[in-house]
Amino acid sequence: MIPESHFLMLGAALFSIGVFGVFTRRNAIGILMSIELILNAANINLITFSKFSASPDGLGQIFALFVIAIAAASAVVGLCLVISIYRNSKTILVNKINLMKW
């Protein structure tokens, strides 16, 4: 059997790639994608734990379901924001959107 830590390694790797993506991506959508990656990494961990630990009724998997639902909701909202930003300032490059900058 595949040892449980490998799955966790995979999750960790995905997580760090997602984080790297968030830091370096200049495009708002790119950032959102990276966030999806991060969420999936979390899901992997959840399911791994539900499989290897003695949780009775697949708690991890239920939780993962919920995560997916929320991820979907957040993605939707994020994208709408991106579209409205685009409509306002014709760009979604993060370093151009700096109204908040003092």
């Binding site: 830590s5 997580f15 760090s16 790297f20 370096t24 290897f52 949780s55 997916i68 939707v76 579209i83």
Partner: protein
């Protein structure tokens, strides 16, 4: 469904265990590569496609974790709905700015450094944690059990999730609507 596939392969004389391991590592490597591509690709459209591939890979990994329902759900929702949504958005905002990826080298290196650091920390933590060593490989969870617990024990979160989805929908419509002058 996973066991069926394995039987199919083992009959061809490759030992049962080796097959599982090899296939898993292959899928994992594949996922990671495409994940990197998502992050590093110059064109945002390519990134979206690569994202889809990564998500399918992850679905595959779920199978190894005896979470068939989730794999299906993953593929169905994530890839089907969310990635398509991304692609729509990309189309809508066809930003002419070339080189979506980039930014100064300094920022990239800083980002890389931080993410690597996080990765090492996580790895360190994984190795440190010992409770899993004792845990025995739990029985797989069949779907009906999942459905029952969802409806009985976790009814409240289930309702909350529905509310969140509703809120997200309304929010999206409101933001998406063109402002009246």
């Amino acid at each position: 469904m996973m066991n069926g596939l394995i039987q199919l392969l083992s009959s061809h004389g490759i030992s049962h265990d080796f097959i599982i391991k090899a296939s898993f590592y292959f899928i994992a490597a594949l996922t990671l590569v495409f994940a990197l591509l998502v992050v590093l690709s110059r064109h945002i459209f390519h990134a979206a496609v690569y994202l889809a591939v990564v998500l399918i890979g992850i679905a595959g990994v779920y199978l190894y974790l005896d979470a068939e329902f989730l794999a299906v759900v993953q593929v169905l929702i994530y890839v089907g709905a969310i990635v398509t949504l991304f692609i729509f958005t990309v189309m809508l905002t066809a930003d002419t700015d070339a080189g979506t990826f980039g930014g100064t080298l300094r920022r990239i290196s800083a980002g890389a450094l931080v993410s690597l650091a996080i990765f090492f920390i996580l790895v360190r933590v994984i190795n440190m944690v010992t409770i899993w060593k004792t845990a025995v490989a739990g029985a797989s969870v069949n779907l009906s059990q999942l459905g029952k617990s969802l409806m009985t024990q976790y009814a409240l979160p289930f309702e909350v999730i529905s509310l969140i989805s509703l809120a997200a929908m309304i929010g999206a419509i409101v933001i998406g609507k063109a402002e009246k002058r």
